[in-house]
Symmetry: C2
């Protein structure tokens, strides 16, 4: 992975990242394709209509269904989904934790029951990276131990210990990725769908797995520092390709997240991307960038779209409001997305009220276009050294909502 | 409306129809946009991806929500939905009957309760055509009295009497359509959403309302003949622009429908389109054409798509079958639709199993492409005077399913 830092404006950064599958500018937002599909949209929507250069898929979900082995047989996520640009995959740890009541954290991994069929599984630092290898993720996340906030000192300390230990384990995969033994891998996972041309397909893929470590530590600046230092001290001839900030936006006050970013970001290496996981609102993104974050992902734009909340240049718009019924305007007359170019608020209001599936795609296209355009505007502001003005202007508009 | 009969091959006909909004060839299939939206698709899908030149919308649904007056204010169905080619609208009688248990047929119309809010409404031959005027339908259907099959002699006779009477009433709208008094119309319907530019908008539309009458008579050839003759005897200086066959595919054996078409079609005027309402399977379409039917509509392609049943050149395919899980083929390798060009059966299987909304659009695009392509192939076969071979070949493939 190539990370070229191109412009800075105080702490805000603009870089270019090149993976085996695409080149994209940061700060960037990654649409979420939980089950190897961005909800209500398809690969052509993502590439052609939205111009998204990187999306996220969830390891937990794809591991359980359709299975990483099957995706590998199809030539990885890229060929299976036909979205052939970059994929970042999370480690699966967060879902194993959030979707199950019976999750058990052990020193060497996480035991959980499938939310689909109740079957028992274990994620270890090695297993999740091997799964991500099969998915052919461009950016793989290490397994971390996340705790919901608020958490006890004891829980946070245990989380830090495991997170650092698991990061260290994960780094060993750097060698293994370069020289992976597919036969052993197949044997280990005893792939039911094994086909004779599996190895050939797995080898034909453009492949370069990058590994990002994850910094935990709740909203405490000392714990965050300790975790970051612990992770960096694991590095040897191999380094992590990027560093993520995990465990935020999990129930804490917004201001605590912002303070955590303010304290943590300046300590993070400048030569690698910084990724704030699972965050957030447009405001969170702008504040994140101000503190030096490069990458974001969140289900908010697509989830809100499905609930009729649309983002615009003048704040949020509730398309199910009665006032929308006869409104001839586009969602946002300043917006150039597919939906705004073609449809009125009135028609979208009708589609939502009439429970037409079509609504979900049109609303999701709009909200993702808003997020992706926001990131482009941010990049432009950083390049022109006017991010501060951009930030102030944005805060002003956003506060009006 | 211009109806140019271009080719015939025994009873099969190929014609060109031109309305105020599009020109299309027959035999044609009209995708169904019940609530002013073809389920899971949008206007661009219909026009650009599928090339559909005419679609159907339901008067009952659009009348109740969002309301015909609102659609009129937006410049009719064409501008409201942004599908600016031809619309055929049914009369609403069928839904008033099928969606309600409390429907009451009176001599002058149908009283029913809204399935949305329970409010009471009455459809009369005049009111449904006025509603269709507001929708700016290119082809308007008269109100008819449909009976479920099997039905008593008494019920069928009552249905015929009303259907003929209502057709006669409807024909009077021909004059009114040419010289409609919008002020009176607005007053009569006391539009809550009345806006000052309403009249201007209604007048700015391309407008030419055509009226099709509907032949009822269950599966009895004598009743069908009586109804057709009754309807044609109403004609004076004005004629119906087309004739529809209603009340079929409502519970009777398939063979009875085919026999009814065989008996009725030869009696129908040759100089106008014949429209078989709400029918049907691909086989029904091919048999319909063989008997001289020109137009069809049915929810089958979109409804089956949502239930994972896909139509192909070799029969039906159940995409949820376990065998699809690792199938790298397109739904139909011979198909050139958006979905087959881009996605594998395996990925579509996964999207269905994972309950991804995206599946509904991709499957609907494929099934509608199948129906629309089938009609193009039929047109070509008629032009080349080889419809009989086409029919025999089709029957052979279809019987294999």
């Amino acid at each position: 992975m190539e990370f070229k830092l191109q412009f800075t404006d105080e702490n805000a950064r603009c870089a270019q990242i090149t993976t085996a599958h695409s080149t994209f500018s940061t700060p960037c937002f990654m649409p979420v394709g939980t089950q190897a599909c961005v909800k209500a949209l398809d690969a052509i929507d993502m590439k052609e209509s939205l111009g998204a250069k990187i999306i996220l898929a969830n390891t937990y979900h794809t591991y359980l269904r359709p299975g990483a082995n099957l995706i590998a047989e199809f030539g990885g996520l890229h060929n299976y989904t036909k979205y052939d640009l970059s994929f970042l995959t999370d480690s699966g740890g967060f879902q194993a934790f959030s979707l199950n009541s019976n999750t058990k954290h052990e020193e060497d991994g996480i035991i959980f029951k499938s939310h689909i069929d109740g079957s028992k599984h274990k994620f270890t630092p090695f297993s999740v990276l091997k799964t991500q290898y099969l998915l052919n993720s461009d950016i793989c996340m290490v397994l971390d131990d996340l705790c919901a906030l608020p958490a006890s000192e004891e829980r946070i300390k245990a989380s830090l210990k495991r997170t650092i230990l698991w990061a260290k384990e994960s780094l060993k995969m750097k060698d293994e990725f370069l020289n992976i033994d597919e036969d052993a891998l197949l044997k280990k996972y005893s792939y039911e769908l094994y086909k004779s041309d599996f190895k050939q397909k797995i080898k034909a893929q453009k492949r370069e797995q990058n590994i990002f470590a994850i910094v935990q530590g709740a909203t405490d600046k000392n714990y965050r520092k300790e975790c970051l230092e612990g992770i960096l001290s694991c590095e040897n001839k191999h380094k992590f390709d990027g560093l993520a900030i995990g465990g935020l936006s999990v129930g804490e006050e917004n201001i605590l997240m912002y303070e955590t970013l303010e304290n943590l970001c300046p300590l993070m290496p400048k030569d690698r991307p910084r990724y704030l996981m699972g965050v957030g609102t447009p405001l969170d993104l702008v504040v994140g960038v101000k503190n030096g974050v490069d990458m974001f992902d969140c289900v908010m734009p697509t989830r809100n779209a499905r609930n009729a909340t649309l983002f615009t240049s003048f704040g949020k718009l509730n398309i199910k409001a009665a006032s929308m019924k006869d409104d001839e305007n586009a969602i946002d007359n300043n917006c150039s997305c597919y939906t705004c170019k073609n449809y009125s608020r009135a028609y979208l209001h009708h589609l939502f009220k009439a429970k037409e599936i079509t609504f979900f795609r049109l609303a999701s296209l709009h909200n993702l276009h808003y997020y992706l355009t926001l990131m482009k505007d941010i990049q432009e502001a950083i390049k022109q050294k006017r991010f501060k003005e951009f930030y102030n202007e944005f805060i002003k508009i956003y506060k009006l909502i």
